[in-house]
């Protein structure tokens, strides 16, 4: 595996969680280094999103540990995760539709005036800055995000994740709702963030997407880790075999889910 010398930004060890007797995630270990993009692959229901929601604080694991920079991290709530610099772009975007872009970007982390009231002007100004970088055509700062197009909503969700100096970024199907041009924009952004030393978990069921951007892939099936591999060491067909059959090729490190 590459970069064995550096401490992982994030390491999830033997994570398990069950919902009503069904093991959605079963003893999965993954890690992520600075400036690295790790693709998490698997069918719908393989447990990718659940695993990632444990890292972002939305779920509490039944077993397993999370390490951030080599130190044990207690992540019980989304707030804890953000405290460790772990930001998430959810598949559903998780935007409050009735609130404008600035309100969504700063939701839960509002800028306050000295009197303790919302500093909307500062938040709007900061929003204009970050959106100018992500989506220069964005104008609709005063409207609830419900009125925005899919791509615009996506850029608001991305802006929320990168504005607060994330060190780990989780992107759950970031291009599922986007057209080709917008998908390219997201790809460019991933490469740019990577250069800044941010570690990225990229979750997708589209392996072309992942092969273009990721340094490594980890494949899940039925809640278990099939294996992990550097993208140079495996072919797309071999990864497809991992996803569909759970068969671990010679170029990959097998996990407990390999058949």
């Amino acid at each position: 595996m590459q970069g064995n010398g550096t401490t992982p930004l994030v390491e999830m060890r033997n994570i398990s969680i069950a919902f009503g007797g069904i093991k959605a995630v079963d003893g999965v270990s993954v890690d992520l280094r600075p400036g690295e993009v790790v693709g998490l692959l698997g069918h719908n229901g393989a447990g990718k999103s659940t695993l990632i929601k444990i890292l972002s604080g939305a779920y509490k694991p039944d077993a397993g540990e999370i390490y951030v920079n080599g130190e044990r991290a207690d992540i019980d709530t989304p707030r804890d995760a953000k405290g460790y610099g772990i930001e998430t772009i959810y598949q559903t975007l998780a935007l409050a539709d009735n609130i404008d872009a600035a309100g969504n970007i700063f939701l839960g982390r509002e800028v306050l005036t000295t009197y303790g009231t919302l500093d909307d002007a500062t938040m709007e100004a900061e929003t204009r800055k970050v959106m100018a970088r992500l989506n220069p055509h964005f104008r609709r700062f005063k409207e609830p995000v419900k009125a925005l197009s899919g791509g615009q909503r996506q850029s608001v969700a991305i802006a929320r994740a990168i504005y607060f100096n994330a060190r780990v970024l989780i992107m759950d199907e970031p291009t599922a709702a986007l057209g080709p041009a917008e998908t390219q924009q997201v790809a460019d952004l991933v490469l740019q963030l990577k250069k800044e030393g941010i570690g990225i978990f990229l979750i997708s069921h589209d392996i072309h997407d992942v092969f273009g951007l990721a340094d490594r892939v980890s494949v899940m099936k039925n809640g278990k880790l099939v294996g992990s591999a550097n993208v140079q060491d495996v072919t797309q067909d071999e990864v497809l075999g991992m996803i569909i059959l759970g068969k671990c090729p010679p170029g990959a490190v097998p996990g407990p889910g390999a058949s």
């Binding site: 559903t92 998780a94 539709d97 609130i99 509002e110 009231t117 500062t122």
Partner: protein
């Protein structure tokens, strides 16, 4: 790279849309004011000029106060996708408790009509109301019992508790100072005070508009044209001064005026004395509650969270908002406001009865909904709900003036509620 200049405003669909949006006027609110105006003029014509008199408008304002106060809290409850069916019953039990406190408990320690009695009674009211609300909020937020069920249970429990306080006995009369909270002659603030309040309000409006404009200019955001800003200030101040003028043109009844003159050593002139009522204390309380609640909803983190929870509960949770505690606070606030309304209606009636507030929950919910609060959550304004309360009360008091039978009044109010929500739905679908 050629990017179109980022400062040009996006083109608007229609000319009128662009004008209204440039003024940043809430079209919905404008529609409600127009509907209210139509109702008022209609009743005035039908009643032969009895509706639009200072006397009727003054009474209308006092009658609206109690429901309007509770409606401001109901907006936040409904915005979070919940409902509170227990507000009338909470009002009832709080009314009985403060009745006992000021008529049976406090006089034995402080003596009758002590100046501390009224403040203590109010404090007890908002504390008891707030605690009941927090308790219900805890059941809803932390035990995940649907608010409909918790507050339906609350409706029965607190109404029963109201009876239990004195086993059904009515308590009267209230403390002399406390009665001012109900309006009436004790609660009329008089002409001078009213003009002072109106002047201060106008000053604040101008300062607030100027302040927010300066802030936007400093950040380089688009601002309204200066003439529009001036027009808004003028209309707002005009409305405040107009309301003050109306309140000040309703004189005290002759006998009360004569008593007042005697008490102040003023000789009674031939033609009688014109002593204006001025704004009523409960109305002032309701307006202050409306302002504070609007501030809370729009300018504070709490309000932002309330709306975020209503817009997308999951997103709010994932943003790290403590949604349960926020929800519990919303219900606590609702209970607190029920406490204020209990004071107003008890003082107005000059008696605490265990039937106080019966059916108020329905009027409060109707006010919020007529005022544009969406039962789907996430949408609603405090001012709209207060206006909704005024619309409901106008209908009722107008029909009383026309001598409409009580059952028909209910039919009309019910029909108007359904109609208002239908029209609002049409409007929302069109702007989308």
């Amino acid at each position: 790279m050629t990017v179109p200049a980022a400062t040009t405003a996006p083109p608007q669909s229609t000319a009128s849309g662009s004008l209204l949006s440039r003024l940043e006027i809430d079209v919905r609110m404008l529609g409600m004011v127009a509907a209210l105006a139509v109702i008022w003029v209609l009743f005035d014509l039908l009643s032969g000029g009895l509706f639009l008199t200072p006397r009727n408008l003054w009474n209308l304002s006092v009658q609206t106060a109690s429901i309007a106060v509770m409606a401001t809290g109901m907006v936040l409850v409904i915005v979070t996708r919940n409902i509170d069916l227990s507000v009338g019953a909470i009002l009832g039990v709080v009314a009985m408790i403060i009745g006992v406190v000021q008529v049976q408990l406090l006089p034995s320690w402080l003596g009758f009509n002590h100046w501390l009695t009224a403040p203590i009674a109010v404090l007890v009211a908002v504390t008891v109301g707030g605690l009941i609300g927090l308790f219900q909020g805890w059941l809803i937020a932390y035990l995940a019992i649907p608010s409909f069920i918790v507050t339906l249970g609350g409706l029965l429990v607190w109404r029963g508790a109201a009876w239990w306080v004195t086993t059904g006995q009515t308590i009267a009369p209230m403390d002399a100072n406390f009665k001012a909270l109900g309006g009436g002659i004790e609660g009329a603030l008089g002409a001078t005070t009213t003009w002072i309040i109106a002047a201060v309000a106008c000053g604040l409006i101008v300062v607030a508009l100027g302040f927010s404009r300066r802030r936007r200019v400093r950040f380089g955001f688009p601002v309204r044209p200066a003439w529009a800003e001036a027009a808004i200030a003028l209309v707002a101040c005009g409305a405040v001064l107009g309301a003050a003028a109306i309140a000040n043109s309703y004189p005290l009844p002759v006998r009360t005026a004569r008593r007042w003159a005697e008490a102040n050593g003023i000789p009674w002139p031939e033609g009688g004395l014109f002593i204006p009522h001025g704004v009523a204390l409960p109305v002032l309380v309701a307006i202050l509650v409306g302002l504070v609640m609007t501030f809370l909803a729009r300018r504070m983190r709490f309000g932002r969270y309330v709306f975020a929870i209503g817009g997308n509960p999951e997103a709010a949770e994932l943003s790290g908002i403590n949604t349960r505690w926020t929800l519990m606070k919303v219900f606590g606030l609702m209970g607190f406001l029920c406490g204020i309304s209990a004071c107003i209606s008890t003082a107005r009636l000059n008696a605490a009865t265990n039937a106080a507030g019966t059916l108020d929950e329905l009027y409060v919910i109707a006010s919020a909904v007529i005022g544009g609060t969406s039962l789907a959550g996430g949408i609603g304004t405090i001012a709209g709900a207060m206006l909704g309360a005024l619309v409901m009360q106008s209908l009722q008091s107008g029909m009383v003036l026309l001598g409409v039978d009580a059952p028909l009044q209910n039919i009309v109010v019910g029909a108007v509620l359904v109609l208002a929500v239908w029209v609002d739905g049409l409007y929302r679908r069109r702007i989308k």
